[in-house]
Amino acid sequence: MADGASRVASAGGAPILEVRELVKHYPIRGGLFSPSQMVHALDGVSLSVARGETLAVVGESGCGKSTLARCIIRLEQPTSGHILLKGADITVLAGRPLRELRRALQIVFQDPYASLNPRWSIASLIGDPMRLHGLAARGERRGRVASLLETVGLGPEFMDRYPHELSGGQRQRVAIARALAMQPEVIVCDEPVSALDVSIQAQVINLLKRLQRQFGIAYIFISHDLSLVKHISDRVAVMYLGQIVELAETRAARRRVLHPYSQALFSAAPVADPQAAAARKRIILAGDVPSPIEPPSGCRFHTRCPYRQDRCAREAPQLRAVEDRLVRCHFAGEPGFPPEVPA
């Protein structure tokens, strides 16, 4: 493996979290006349993230990015594969050892309206997990909650309020404070700002950045917003139909992407600049993302790929080192591939 690419594959320093060959298949029960089938949500996903690093996972609906998030924090049991947190395999743990390790691994969901129990005050929402994990004695808990609220930019007056009294941005801050209460080393952020108003998104992103600097937290940042990902991540993994198709340092991906799907995805993202928008040519893919129940043969992207050849339908490409990154395409690395988007 080329030197640059191996660096990309395995995070900067020693990985704090490592995902190896993760597979998740969901069975769908068949009807009276239809056999049962499998949804191939994840098919062999490997990635890792280092302390203080942000790894972005991007892709469209059905690509498996949210399943990945749920498997990593063990809300879902993966079909096969391993998840190593600080070197320990958490896929085989259960009960108390799992609970203890999982404290270090927290998640912030997209929708702070759904992730906070509406009948609990903010103080209990943040304080109760501390009680469960024995992180703060009863007498200290309120003080600790107040200081966490302060860390996320909310005053102590929020302690006795309920989620419905808060705006979306404030709720997301509470969700972040609740994750922080566990002194996590990795936070999986599943579309943490996409339910928020534009003017509030930057506030929450800045908060996440400050916390990362302060506590050295690693983020796995799941998003469909490429312009955001380009700004906040160190490395980016592009997923399509349950597989990583490209994994690169964000700096390199901003210059150029090598997989035809990454290219289409990056070119389709709207840019808030009318001149740039008029000057550039979008690649408009034909059709929709195929069903993950019967993913296409060979390369999963071949049904929509503008550069497909006969081989692509027959032969599944491996994720391999190309230049400074990993790409899952037979032709990546050949001179002039993929062709520059015509301007």
């Binding site: 003017s199 509030i200 950045k209 995805l265 389709a268 840019v271 808030a272 009318p274 408009i284 893919l285």
Partner: protein
């Protein structure tokens, strides 16, 4: 320029609630010409969707009502029409597409029947004419195998296909005005690009006026000709898409643009707009944006600025807009 297709004059919409009257839209004026796309931009609570619903007179009454203003569609004031006359306008002269096509499509009707109903009601087509026209419309919006799709139900289609069906239904009577309320927010980026491309192509083909309601400035930059920025129920700035992006004059517009481009302010932190949109029950005195505005002067906290032209066709609601030149 010829007479505008849509001319909205001083439109105000109120809702009565137990906590008092909510002024959802205040004194909103704008117009859209043939073949033009006007983007109504704002965040939640800005009044942009309420304004769109008011154009179609779809504000539930009570508790809501159009408290003043006029909505002229090709010169005819819709606010003065009877409910019966209005039915001849909705779907025929102006049509609307929504964020969630499942809200607009009836799950128990086939695609042919949904689109066909519009054709039967408004154009009085016969059964065989309807099938031919439905297939033609589906082909127009890029639905593959239209004859087959016409017989299917909404749940048989993907999100992008449903959006296309809804657009086909909206276009069935070749409306003068298409209102698109966050038409692609629920779609993936690659499908969003397809649908935006489709709307643009159809606008060019039929010379429709398009009112695009969105919070996404990326989409505005790519599809709109002119932009109206709303904040807390009021228009705060208007201009061509080039003017708004190159020379925004209202501090809210500037903040939104910074946020949309993920501009970095200090170090690697992003430029942010502090605070939140004020609650409709706790509107600040003076300018509604003043509490979040870094440039506010004492006057801003005591008086609401009027819209004032900084250049022809460039009204801005800010006391300091004129001094705030380019750059």
């Amino acid at each position: 320029m010829s007479a505008p297709v849509l001319d909205v004059r001083s439109l105000s919409v109120e809702f009565e609630s137990t906590l008092g009257t909510i002024h959802a839209v205040r004194d909103l004026s704008f117009s859209i010409g043939e073949g033009e796309t006007l983007a109504l931009v704002g965040e939640s609570g800005s009044g942009k969707s309420t304004a769109a619903m008011a154009l179609l007179r779809l504000i539930p009454n009570p508790p809501g009502r159009i408290s003043s203003g006029a909505v002229l569609l090709a010169g005819r004031d819709l606010t003065a029409l009877s409910e019966a006359d209005l039915r001849g306008v909705r779907g025929r002269e102006m049509a609307m597409i929504f964020q969630d096509p499942m809200m607009a499509l009836n799950p128990v009707y086939t695609i042919e029947r949904q689109i066909g109903e519009v054709l039967r009601l408004h154009l009085g087509l016969s059964k065989s004419e309807i099938l031919a026209e439905v297939v033609e419309l589906l082909r127009l919006v890029g639905v593959p195998a239209p004859e087959e799709r016409a017989r299917q139900y909404p749940h048989n289609l993907s999100g992008g296909m449903r959006q296309r069906v809804m657009i086909a239904m909206a276009l069935a009577c070749r409306p003068r005005l298409l209102i698109a309320d966050e038409p692609t927010t629920a779609l993936d980026v690659t499908v969003q690009a397809q649908v935006l491309d489709l709307i643009h192509g159809l606008k060019e083909k039929f010379g429709m006026a398009v009112l695009l309601i969105t919070h996404d400035l990326g989409i505005v930059a790519e599809t709109a000709n002119r932009v109206v920025v709303m904040y807390a129920g009021r228009k705060v700035e208007e201009g061509t898409v080039g003017e708004i992006f190159a020379d925004p004059r209202h501090p809210y517009t500037r903040g939104l643009l910074g946020a949309a481009k993920w501009e970095e302010a200090d170090g690697d932190l992003l430029r942010e707009i502090p605070g939140t949109v004020p609650s409709p029950f706790e509107m600040p005195s003076g300018c509604s944006f003043a509490p979040r505005c870094a440039e506010a002067i004492p006057l801003c906290r005591s008086a609401m600025p009027e819209l004032k032209d900084v250049a022809p066709g460039r009204p801005v609601r800010c006391f300091l807009a004129e001094g705030r030149g380019h750059g």
